[in-house]
């Protein structure tokens, strides 16, 4: 039970619950205590020591991040001594850091750089003692540069606690302490699911996406290539932040304009295939529901979740929708349908995806995703890489006149755009499943029960002619475990899952909080971006996937029906079982539809 205690923060009397830490109280009262390893989204690791404050009567300062307030506490957050300690601490951290700021991906976003600058630290106070170690570039998604690591432990925290992936740990001791994968085999040979949450929370440039910017520029600048680009739903609500626009600005049309100025030959939209995914996945769901299937259907859009499932829950692989992700559906259609419609040799098409995601880089290179006869998606850029591209091209994004995308694979409904927020796929699917079962549209398309940032959301939707459909939505893989463990338990004990349909997104908040999103990607900004997607949904003329005219056209002209043999061939996939120690494929657990 929380008690209220009296404390004095820099002389100011406050009454606060004793469950709060000093730094939480300070933040709430707008007293800034310098910090480095502390992040409000994560449990404190208490490693850096920068947040020390003086407690009157205590011989040594205490860490504000993990010291709870107690009755009568008199706190001093700044003093000559504290300033000196903090400076020396940061000087010590810099002395064991690869200080290559101008060329670092985290330049201007780096929390160490900002702190050092704010504290007025002398970078030459101590000799640099860094022993350079090789950079881990084994992963298709994430680069780990240990030379820039300050061993704050946030990545371990987010990987082990938030995501329960357990790819990272501390290794060795003393000055050799570093963050490593098991047996130092590198990220590619770890259970890492490529979600990139470590890159989001890394305070420096030690963890970042594996950049494919150069390859994309090469393709754009190659006159023989036809470069087609797609952008994920969540991109349009996070781009603006980087260009001085308010958090949650909805900017799809500036985005199209920027892409065109950069030189992409065809500017399309992933939201189109999000709608298409609903048609495929929704049909799959309705078929299962009608057949009275006891095992649930689980969404398959999130590549971090898919690798996680293959690693930790391969026994549930048959429950996961066989539908490819919207990105991969787009990729395969670009080199088949689009090529055919526009008379372009698919060999000359370079398909680029701009994603909020690092795991998409891994997905694009899955060997099974080559149903077009080519690698379906050639390059994946994260939002951060795209921002760098806009900056390199010198585009004034905030003031860019809006433009429309190219036609054919770019029209989208409100259902497609909310894919970017947790619960969005579920909501979009319910909107269409209702129609597919009853032949009628839902009266109110907004399903509030699956919205918001609660870790696991449950809802029950009545579909006339079928009854109640129980659904669950989980975001963040630790929450996914909670749902999956109950599914496992239900199947083992009662022979049925507690839910018919489940949405799982690897990243907390869904794609708006993806591992490739702009720096400053905390829970608060994820919430704001998610709301922006719902705002866009409300503003759109079409809000249901089955009403998307371009989707209807692709069925009419090319695919036939949802789940038709051609649709199953091009738009559906299968899954593997992976080793929990090194993430490598150890077997195939489901098969391609015949």
């Amino acid at each position: 039970m929380a008690k209220t205690v009296n404390i004095w923060l820099d002389g100011k009397h406050l009454e606060v619950p004793d469950t709060m830490t000093i730094i939480e109280v300070a933040d709430q009262n707008e007293v800034y205590i310098p910090r480095l390893c502390y992040h409000p989204d994560l449990p404190p690791t208490a490693n850096c020591g920068v947040c020390v404050v003086e407690i009157v009567g205590n011989p040594t300062p205490k860490r504000a991040c993990c010291t709870p307030v107690s009755e009568g506490m008199k706190l001093i957050t700044n003093s000559k001594k504290l300033r000196a300690y903090r400076k020396t601490l940061v000087e010590m951290i810099l002395s064991n850091h690869d200080v290559s700021c101008p060329t670092c991906v985290a330049n201007n976003k780096c929390e160490l750089q900002t702190l050092a600058n704010n504290l007025g630290v002398d970078s030459d106070a101590l000799p640099n003692i860094l022993e350079k170690k090789p950079v881990d570039e084994s992963s298709l998604s994430i680069v780990r540069d240990i030379n820039k690591c300050i061993a704050c432990g946030r990545c371990i925290n987010v990987c082990n606690e938030t995501q329960t992936v357990y790819a990272l740990t501390f290794a060795d001791r003393g000055i050799n302490t570093h963050i490593d994968t098991a047996f130092s085999l590198g990220m590619a040979n770890s259970p890492c699911v490529n979600c990139g949450q470590c890159t989001v929370y890394c305070p420096t440039g030690a963890l970042h996406e594996r950049s494919e910017l150069d390859a994309v520029w090469e393709a754009i600048l190659d006159p023989d290539k036809h470069v087609i680009v797609q952008e994920a739903p969540s991109i349009r609500v996070s781009l603006g932040e980087e260009f001085g626009m308010p958090l949650g600005s909805v900017t799809p049309k500036k985005m199209y304009a920027a892409l065109r100025r950069i030189g992409f030959d065809s500017v399309m939209d992933t939201n189109f295939t999000a709608d298409l995914t609903i048609m495929e996945e929704g049909t799959e769901c309705v078929t299962k529901l009608k057949a009275g299937e006891k095992r649930p259907l689980i969404t398959s859009c999130s590549p971090g979740w898919i690798k996680f499932m293959e690693t930790y829950y391969p026994d549930l692989a048959d429950c996961v929708s066989t539908a490819k992700s919207p990105m991969s559906m787009f990729g395969v259609l670009a080199k088949t349908y689009y090529a055919q419609e526009n008379n372009i040799d698919p060999a000359k098409i370079v398909s680029v995806a701009i994603m909020p995601c690092t795991a998409k880089k891994f997905e694009a290179r899955r060997p099974e995703l080559r149903d077009s006869g080519y690698q379906d998606t050639d390059y994946v850029l994260t939002t951060r890489e795209f921002i760098r591209m806009i900056k390199e091209a010198g585009i004034d994004f905030a003031n860019l006149p809006e433009e429309e995308p190219d036609k054919g694979m770019s029209f989208y409904s409100g259902a497609g755009t909310i894919f970017g927020a947790t619960g969005g796929v579920m909501e979009a699917a319910i909107r269409s499943a209702y129609y597919l079962v009853t032949g009628k549209d839902l009266e109110n398309v907004e399903i509030q029960g699956v919205r918001g940032l609660e870790g696991v959301k449950e809802a029950s939707v009545e579909i006339p002619g079928f009854g109640n459909v129980n659904v669950a939505v989980a975001h963040g893989l630790s929450n996914a475990r909670k749902v999956l463990d109950r599914v496992r338990e239900g199947l083992a004990t009662k022979g049925e899952s507690p839910w018919h349909f489940i949405e799982i997104m690897a990243c907390p908040g869904g794609c708006v909080g993806g591992g490739g999103q702009p720096y400053g990607n905390d829970i608060a900004s994820r919430a704001r971006r998610g709301l922006a997607l719902y705002e866009e949904d409300r503003s759109l003329p079409v809000r249901q996937s089955h009403r998307n005219p371009e989707v209807l056209k692709v069925y009419e002209k090319f695919l036939g029906q949802p789940n038709s043999p051609l649709a199953l061939k091009l738009l559906h996939t299968y899954y593997f079982k992976r080793s929990v120690t090194n993430g490598q494929v150890v077997g195939q657990v489901t098969h391609k539809h015949q």
């Binding site: 404190p44 208490a46 490693n47 850096c48 020591g49 920068v50 020390v52 040594t60 300062p61 860490r63 993990c66 010291t67 709870p68 001594k81 000196a84 300690y85 020396t88 601490l89 010590m92 951290i93 002395s95 064991n96 101590l126 000799p127 003692i129 300050i150 061993a151 740990t169 501390f170 060795d172 001791r173 003393g174 000055i175 050799n176 302490t177």
Partner: protein, 520 residues
């Protein structure tokens, strides 16, 4: 029972085993058999004899003659002269020619009173000298709160370094109503130059077990772990035997002597990290995790091993408990000073005549310990400095030797009792070299969790290396102080707070050496 004319007690410790004690005993028995003395002279293996010289040491009763550094080659002479003819071999007897005669302080011993006297591998010998009487009293005559009260009253303070009052520590855990509590014995003795716990465990393992049992009874713990340093092979072996014997005698297990009280004791072997001597890092290690410290609060007494309330006590601390329970707090308080009661076991090493361990009353002046108990400086050497409290201790020059070895007085000298290690240096030793070796140790042992200790230890090591090479300046010396102070203020645990002690005391008390070496 058989009667013997004489008993030869052979001190078995890691050191004597290294010197070939096992082979020695075999040869000694063979030689005695040659003269058909095996029925008259008994050869006994005991724990370490205490404060003596190198190699294999023997004590012969009832003559009470002690031999040191005896070699296998000496056996024929020893047996023929002493045991056959009754003429003790003077040249092997403990050296009494130094300025100070060593004081064999048996009269003041609490923790070591049985060490070197009984066979540590035999529970009956321990019972024979009054062992497990305190246990019996605690189990049959005292309520748990009375045990806590008695220990509180005794004024016993933790002997691991921090000196926290033991009874107070227990009183945090005892009243908590939870299904599981633990007692953890911190036997991960890792402070350089310290080996008191090893000798306590080697010499009298049952005394420690008795202490653990009483503590478990007092706080309501049903499971105890002894987290022991992996290198302490003999301790581990002897403790295992002792635990097995205790089970056999019904002192451990379920429903002990129908008291309704259960207790199991297990041994966990440490993997050699200094930081695991820090109680929360030790708990992490016990749980199977990387040995990194945890933030306090919550303190282990409330939330420790597997989140259950856990009392973590040092070996020496618990070894004092049977005496307190058996003889009462007053008897314990008869030793030491009012604020620092009881005795303290020290390990003295370096350039003294008799390096080894001694147990003396708290508050004994450092000068007395060095000059009287350790026999003063080795012949031909002059005193320069004493490093008191291990690597995390303080370097004291001659003028500060009058400090009394108790918590309060040491504090006045800005010194600490620490682990009870006293390293004595002669006038030829370099303080800079010593500091270099201390800082190399810390650099190696920093767990790397917090940036202050991780980077600070390395920076200190680099700076002292530079100074040692004669390439440093007084600015570097000042920088060392700045870093050490910052580490003290901002390190996560006590390890990172430690280097400031040797660094500051070395620079303050032996500043001229730094002046000199940086001038070169």
């Amino acid at each position: 029972m058989k009667f013997y004319r004489s008993h030869i007690l052979v001190g078995i410790s890691e050191a004597s085993l290294l010197a070939g004690a096992e082979e020695f005993i075999k040869e000694l028995r063979k030689e005695l058999a040659k003269y058909d003395l095996q029925e008259e002279i008994n050869v006994l293996e005991t724990g370490p004899l205490g404060f003596f010289g190198k190699g294999i040491c023997l004590t012969v009763y009832p003559e009470n003659i002690t031999y040191q550094d005896v070699k296998i080659e000496d056996i024929p002479e020893l047996v023929e002269e002493h045991f056959l003819k009754g003429r003790p071999v003077k040249r092997l007897m403990l050296d009494t020619t130094s300025k100070y005669k060593p004081r064999l302080n048996y009269e003041n011993r609490i923790v070591l009173r049985n060490s070197g006297v009984i066979d540590p591998e035999n529970i009956e010998e321990y019972i024979g000298v009054g062992g497990y009487e305190a246990w019996e009293k605690a189990f049959t005559q005292m309520k748990p709160e009375e045990i806590v009260k008695e220990v509180k009253e005794s004024g016993l303070r933790g002997r691991g370094g921090a000196g926290f009052p033991t009874g107070v520590k227990w009183s945090f855990t005892a009243p908590l109503q939870v299904p599981q509590k633990y007692v953890v014995v911190n036997a991960d003795e890792g402070e350089p130059g310290t080996f008191k716990d090893r000798l306590i465990m080697e010499g009298d393992p049952h005394q420690l077990l008795e202490g653990v049992m009483i503590c478990a009874r007092a706080v309501g713990a049903t499971k105890a772990y002894i987290y022991i340093r992996g290198e302490y092979k003999l301790c581990i072996e002897r403790l295992r035997k002792a635990i097995a014997q205790a089970y056999e005698y019904g002192l451990l297990g379920k429903n002990i002597f129908d008291s309704g009280f259960d207790l199991d004791i297990d041994i966990k072997i440490g993997a050699g990290a200094y930081v695991c001597g820090e109680e929360t890092a030790l708990i992490e290690s016990l749980e199977g995790n990387r040995g990194n410290p945890r933030w306090k609060p919550p303190f282990p007494g409330v939330e420790g091993l597997w989140k259950a309330p856990t009392v973590v006590n040092n070996v020496e601390t618990l070894a004092n408990v049977p005496f307190i329970i058996k003889n009462g707090a007053e008897a314990f308080k008869a030793h030491g000073t009012p604020q620092s009661t009881g005795t303290k076991v020290y390990t003295i090493l370096g350039d003294v005549t008799y390096p080894g361990l001694c147990e003396v009353d708290m508050g004994t002046p450092l000068r007395t310990i060095i000059n009287e108990y350790a026999g003063g400086m080795k012949k031909g050497f002059r005193f320069k400095a004493a490093l008191v409290g291990g690597a995390a201790g303080v370097l004291l020059p001659e003028r500060l030797l009058d400090v009394n070895m108790d918590f309060a007085n040491l504090n006045e000298y800005a010194a600490v009792l620490g682990s009870g290690a006293i390293l004595v240096l002669n006038e030829h030793q370099s303080i800079v070299d010593l500091l270099w070796s201390i800082l190399r140790f810390f650099r190696h042992e920093s767990c790397g969790k917090c940036s202050a200790c991780r980077n600070g230890c390395q920076q200190l090591y680099e700076l002292i290396t530079k100074i040692k090479k004669g390439e440093g300046t007084m600015e570097d010396v000042d920088l060392m102080l700045t870093i050490a102070d910052t580490m003290f203020a901002t390190s996560f645990c006590a390890l990172g707070q430690s280097p400031v002690m040797p660094v500051r005391s070395a620079i303050e008390n032996f500043g001229d050496e730094f002046q000199e070496i940086t001038k070169r």
